[in-house]
């Protein structure tokens, strides 16, 4: 990294462009499939087949097909040993690199919650007499959270320092938000940011034990909502100093203009009931973007569909905004934890580029306590110039990101 070139210029902040993006999620592999699923409001939640869920209340999740995920990477040496999370990161980065092959990141910031958890599970099960430990060194080597990030970089000859943020379900938004601030401050010119998480039994059972997940459909902000379903995937965005991006002729997909983070300290698994943490994150993002709440055209809500989360987020949105369209795209693909914020940033990017509002599916009836303008069940065309994306996590960590349609 050319550290000598770094500029510290908080007084004259740089504009931050998104010049490329890659995504893989239950909605599809790549931006085109994702856009198609969003436009058709597809329900991509299916029965869990990866591990036994017979004793769980919830039996479904948003899942990435292994046959499609793994088939593409037979050419990578030892790819069979890599964790699924590595394959997801490689797929997302492959799409990004194809758009901007000359993009040389100085830093990579990625969010996750679980790393290579399922390899840890295999190791533990084998250790306890249920299997063969010959592959244990491979599982152990591929378990650490930074491994999928390094694998993805290696696959495309990238060698940037990486920061892996594990702020629970806010991780992906925190990663992009922090990367945004790094470019805006002038400290870096080009940063890769994103998030990943692969479905794992332990995490699935954990949310089930908390009765946070539902045996029914995921219905964010609905009067009859009963909980979340989990998901998985990865997304990566190329963030770049806008002036430099234009100078080199890169196409600009959108701008990131604001980021807010807060910690509410109420409870390790529950949000502060008044919504103060969520509200502070959104307020700080608006302040960071130098815009007012009235300027926001669309909110991609955290919207897990748990009773408490949606109630607090709904209160916070109502307190700050007046009738702005809101949807939780987790209704279509599940909650991919550390990847969620990154995938939802891509959803906002597509909404800004293609001028539509993604749907909040499975919506049957509004919650009388929430005065929200839900984009119910169908995506619809709309003029979207500014989109805000929320992510809130265990431990009371809250993050909001604001993106703007790029006008040349």
């Amino acid at each position: 990294m050319a550290q000598a070139d770094r500029r510290e210029s908080t007084n004259n902040p740089a504009r931050v462009a998104v010049t490329a993006a890659g995504v893989i999620s239950p909605l599809g592999i790549g931006l085109a499939e994702t856009l198609e699923s969003l436009r058709s409001a597809r329900d991509c939640v299916t029965s869990v087949m990866r591990f036994s869920v017979t004793q769980c209340r919830c039996k479904t999740a948003g899942q990435v097909s292994d046959s499609r995920l793994l088939a593409s990477y037979a050419q990578i040496p030892r790819s069979g040993r890599l964790h699924r999370a590595s394959h997801m990161m490689i797929q997302a980065l492959k799409e990004l690199v194809a758009q901007q092959p000359e993009f040389e990141p100085e830093l990579m910031v990625v969010g996750t919650t679980s790393g290579g958890m399922s390899y840890g599970e295999r190791y533990y099960r084998s250790l306890n007499g249920a299997g063969d430990l010959r592959h244990a060194p491979t599982w152990i080597a591929n378990y650490p959270a930074q491994k999928p990030v390094i694998d993805a970089q290696t696959a495309f000859g990238i060698s940037a320092p990486c920061q892996v943020i594990a702020n629970a379900c806010a991780s992906g938004t925190n990663a992009i938000g922090h990367a945004f601030e790094c470019v805006r401050s002038g400290r870096y010119q080009r940063v890769l940011a994103g998030g990943y998480d692969a479905l794992a039994e332990m995490v699935f059972v954990g949310f089930d034990s908390l009765q946070a997940s539902t045996p029914e459909k995921c219905r964010p902000f609905d009067r009859h909502r009963s909980g979340m379903v989990l998901g998985e995937g990865a997304a990566v965005l190329a963030l770049e100093n806008l002036d430099l991006a234009r100078k080199r002729g890169a196409s600009v997909l959108a701008e990131i203009i604001g980021y807010g983070i807060s910690t509410d300290n109420f409870h390790i698994t529950q949000p502060e009931p008044s919504g103060i943490g969520a509200r502070q994150a959104m307020e700080r993002a608006l302040e960071s973007a130098h815009i007012s709440a009235a300027d926001v055209d669309y909110i991609n809500a955290h919207g897990t569909a748990t009773v408490f989360n949606d109630a607090t987020e709904g209160k916070a949105i109502t307190a700050l905004f007046n009738g702005v369209p809101v949807s939780s795209t987790k209704s279509m693909m599940g909650h991919s934890l550390g990847a969620a914020g990154a995938i939802e940033a891509v959803v906002c990017l597509l909404a800004l580029q293609h001028q539509f509002l993604p749907a909040n599916i499975n919506f049957t009836a509004p919650d009388d306590d929430l005065d929200l303008n839900i984009v119910a069940n169908e995506a619809r065309p709309a003029a979207v110039s500014i989109a805000l994306s929320n992510s809130f996590g265990f431990g009371g960590t809250n993050a909001s990101l604001i993106m703007r349609k790029f006008e040349a």
Binding site: S159, L210, T263
Partner: protein, 375 residues
């Protein structure tokens, strides 16, 4: 931008408190190893544990059910703030950021939680344990204890993650809305970790850790926490944090370490706080140090304190600060005398020491460094 160290807190197998642990290191003491076993597997490992007395006096409702890692972090974090003379109140709670550096996280509760699933089934899974398995649980507890309402981040990585957290702190402090950044590196021990590192050929079954030995006999795991408060001005500064990078194979670690040292090198580097721990790291560091800074005195604290992985980077920084302040450096224990490095084999006075490099090579492909100076 150079940040200054405004306060420090330290929880180690040699006890709690920066000055008392430092004094024991100067005396050439090393932590006592204990054994750790598993109820299902008949194999015992040696580890360096934090003595129970070291956590005496810490109580908070958030820590009642919290894992050891959260308690270590809370003690170190509170000590660091206390030594910096910072009292957090609602007016300044937004003006401090909290960054945690972690490698394995709350592994004890994670194992217990999953053990119930494997043994009895999903219906036995404990909703009380699950939240403690999340990487950011220790940060969440400390944020709640302190009342931090602004930025809280947990970074995950290998032994180099502590230095990555310093780089992140620099990035956050570019925002003038922040006055301080509290950086905490922490780790706890579990039998499962020992077994995993042994299968990966990085652990030895019993002490000592023999740094820079050609045999690479392995490391001994330890636990605890290190915390530092970073401010904009002060006596000991981090002149430059180098974000480092990653290496694909162990044999490539030397190359990136050399690059870090070249970038950090100045005319006078008085000493190096190395991350040598008895593994492949030592060879890589030794080669890089010989080539780039052959005249600097080299110290590693890992033979005395063990390998605390996520906590180790912060421990190295605390060692560097103490050496710069006290103008002496402890003896490196159990070192191979034949190594072509200027090792600190005895307690060594350094009356004119002004500048040091902290070098960290992790066990899982990451490396980073930073340069510190005393005014």
């Amino acid at each position: 931008m150079s940040l200054a160290i405004a306060g420090m807190g330290w929880v180690t197998p040699l006890g709690t408190g920066v000055d008392s642990v430092w004094e024991r290191l100067l005396q050439g003491e090393e932590a006592s190893a204990t054994t750790i076993s598993d109820r299902c597997v008949d194999r015992v490992y040696s580890v360096f544990r934090v003595p129970e007395l070291a956590l005496k006096g810490i109580s908070h409702p958030r820590l009642r059910r919290a894992s050891a890692i959260s308690r270590f972090a809370a003690v170190a974090g509170l000590h660091a703030l206390q030594s910096a003379g910072i009292k957090l109140e609602s007016q300044n709670a937004e003006r401090i950021a909290l960054i945690f550096a972690i490698s394995n996280g709350g592994v004890t509760y994670t194992k217990r939680f999953y053990h119930e699933i494997v043994g009895t089934g999903a219906q036995a899974a404990s909703p009380l344990l699950f939240p403690e398995t999340v990487f950011n649980a220790p940060a969440s507890h400390l944020a709640a204890i302190l009342g931090v309402t602004g930025a809280t981040y947990t970074l995950v990585g290998d032994g180099a993650v502590g230095l990555a957290a310093i780089t992140m702190a620099e990035e956050l402090m570019a925002n003038e809305a922040l006055d301080y950044c509290l950086v905490v590196g922490t780790e706890e021990i579990d039998w499962l970790l020992c077994d995993a590192y042994r299968r990966w050929r990085l652990l030895r079954m019993a002490p000592p850790i023999e740094p820079f030995s050609k045999q690479n006999r392995g490391m001994i795991l330890s636990e605890g926490a290190g915390a530092i408060v970073l401010a904009r001005g002060g006596f000991v500064t981090i002149e430059r944090a180098h974000p480092g990078g990653h290496f694909r194979r162990r044999g490539e670690a030397e190359k990136i370490l050399k690059r870090i040292l070249f970038d950090l090198r100045q005319e006078e580097i008085d000493f190096i706080i190395s991350s040598a721990n008895g593994t492949f790291v030592d060879q890589a560091e030794s080669q890089a140090l010989q080539e780039v800074v052959p005249n600097a005195l080299v110290y590693t604290g890992k033979p005395a304190l063990g390998e605390s992985v996520g906590g180790s980077g912060l421990w190295q920084i605390i060692l560097a600060v103490q050496a710069l302040r006290s103008k002496e450096i402890p003896p490196v224990l159990h070192a191979d005398h034949s190594v072509r490095l200027r090792l600190s084999l005895l307690r060594t006075p350094m009356p004119s020491a002004r500048r040091a490099i902290v070098l960290s090579c992790g066990l899982n492909q990451q490396a980073a460094g930073l340069r510190m100076a005393i005014q």
